[in-house]
């Protein structure tokens, strides 16, 4: 039982990752695509953060009055802090582009935009 519970995080990672990717591939609405992208990226955060946990550990803030305390791994947390920033940066740039597309084309549905380009 514990054997598989310990993998549940990674299964959820796989499912969320692919749900996000599916939203990006299958939806034509540009904002929906971007929302799918944020789920996709959030899944990766889960992958990294799941690695950092140590059984019986606490957040890696060293308490000098508790020697011998186990701490969880700080490195994946640092990486994901950076990745979250990258995610919000990409999202805001993507939204700015969508706003410009909406002003230029009058639509945010990908197939309608393609039709207008080919016309």
């Amino acid at each position: 039982m514990m054997e598989y519970l310990g993998l549940y995080n990674y299964w959820v990672f796989a499912v969320l990752l692919m749900l996000g990717l599916y939203a990006v591939i299958s939806r034509t609405n540009l904002i929906k695509k971007l929302i799918g992208m944020t789920i996709f990226q959030a899944a990766v955060f889960l992958l990294y953060i799941s690695m950092d946990k140590v059984e019986g550990g606490t957040a890696p803030i060293i308490q000098s009055h508790m020697p011998g305390q186990l701490y969880s791994n700080p490195l994946p947390q640092v990486l994901i802090l950076t990745a979250i920033v990258v995610g919000i940066a990409t999202l805001s740039l993507g939204l700015a582009i969508v706003i410009r597309i909406s002003e230029a084309y009058g639509s945010i549905e990908e197939d309608e935009i393609r039709k207008m380009d080919n016309a």
């Binding site: 990717l21 944020t38 140590v54 957040a59 947390q77 802090l81 979250i84 940066a89 706003i99 410009r100």
Partner: protein, 328 residues
């Protein structure tokens, strides 16, 4: 007990994600995305990642939601109902999911202290940080010093996003957004008494908390990025309550551009100071006679730089979105 919480939250995450996918009203999808981020933040907290949880809550549930709502107001909040969806993406995705799940069986289990991740560099950080840098929060030590170069990159990623939004959305014909008309939107909620009174009451506390998170990052969860997100959230609330123009009077586009560039310059400047004082790029130990004091000074400065740029960029993005013409 914790495992049970984890399993519950993770299942909830999947359900929320499916809900986001199925929602055809984009407003609903955005709200669910905010909830998704909050659940994700709770999950991170359970997994001992307090800093990441704080950031995810401030960014995913806060800033991202505001930006998405702003974009919806400018575009269209309904997804066109779709006809028949092709089956092949679903099949492809299902196959890929199974492949990734198949790979998990060789992975170390959650919390396994013998996993390779906990063997190689991580113990070094945990053991050496008190001696070399002497801040209790190891995450801050790695973020700002050991991997400070990554954080420099992170600062420039958000800098780039700010530049991009300014480039795409700044409205020169209107002279920036400085000459906002006194329309209903720009006046905010001024004629609504309750939000206004409470908003004014809360804003200073939010900014104060932001400053606490900025300068307490060495000892507890927090740091420049979280602080920047919190402070800009406070100012965005002020803009919503008192109106865009009031917020811009306090911090104009010029000032914001100065903050963005100033933060970036400060970070690179600290790095170059390391070179000039005889160390390597981003070597803080040489900033002071005592290496540990130098590290403290360097971390303080670069965290301040990150806070400055992040506040500037987030507010610039918010104002750029808000200054755009509403859809007709």
């Amino acid at each position: 007990m914790v495992t049970l919480f984890g399993v519950f939250l993770l299942t909830l995450l999947v359900i929320t994600a499916v809900g986001i996918l199925r929602a055809e009203h984009l407003f609903v999808a955005v709200m669910l995305t905010g909830i998704f981020s909050l659940q994700m933040a709770a999950m991170f907290f359970i997994l001992d990642a307090a800093d990441v949880a704080l950031t995810e809550a401030a960014v995913g549930a806060g800033v991202a939601t505001v930006l998405l709502l702003g974009a919806l107001a400018l575009t269209n909040d309904r997804e066109r109902p779709s006809g028949i969806r092709p089956w092949w993406p679903l099949a492809l995705i299902a196959a890929a999911t199974l492949l990734v799940i198949y790979a998990t069986f060789d992975q170390p289990r959650l919390g396994d202290p013998d996993a390779p991740v906990h063997q190689h560099v991580a113990p070094w950080y945990l053991e050496e940080t008190p001696r070399l840098i002497d801040v209790p929060n190891v995450v801050t030590a790695i973020l700002a010093s050991f991997r400070g170069y990554d954080t420099l990159g992170e600062l420039f990623v958000i800098f780039t996003a700010g530049i991009g939004v300014l480039f795409l959305l700044a409205n020169p014909s209107k002279g920036g957004a400085l000459s906002l008309s006194q329309s209903a939107e720009s006046q905010g909620l001024r004629h609504h008494l309750v939000p206004r009174v409470v908003g004014r009451l809360v804003v200073p506390f939010i900014v104060l908390f932001g400053l606490y998170v900025q300068f307490h990052g060495d000892y507890g969860p927090g740091g420049g990025f979280q602080a920047g997100a919190l402070i800009s959230a406070g100012i965005i609330l002020y803009a919503l309550v008192e109106g865009e123009s009031m917020a811009l009077k306090a911090l104009s586009f010029r000032v914001l551009a100065g903050m963005i560039a100033g933060g970036a310059l400060l970070y690179v400047g600290v790095g170059i100071a390391g070179i000039l004082l005889g160390g390597n790029f981003l070597d803080y130990s040489v900033l002071s006679a005592d290496p540990v004091a130098g590290q403290h000074l360097g971390i303080l400065l670069v965290e301040a730089a990150v806070g400055l740029t992040v506040t500037g960029v987030l507010l610039t993005i918010f104002h750029s979105f808000a200054a755009r013409d509403q859809k007709s």
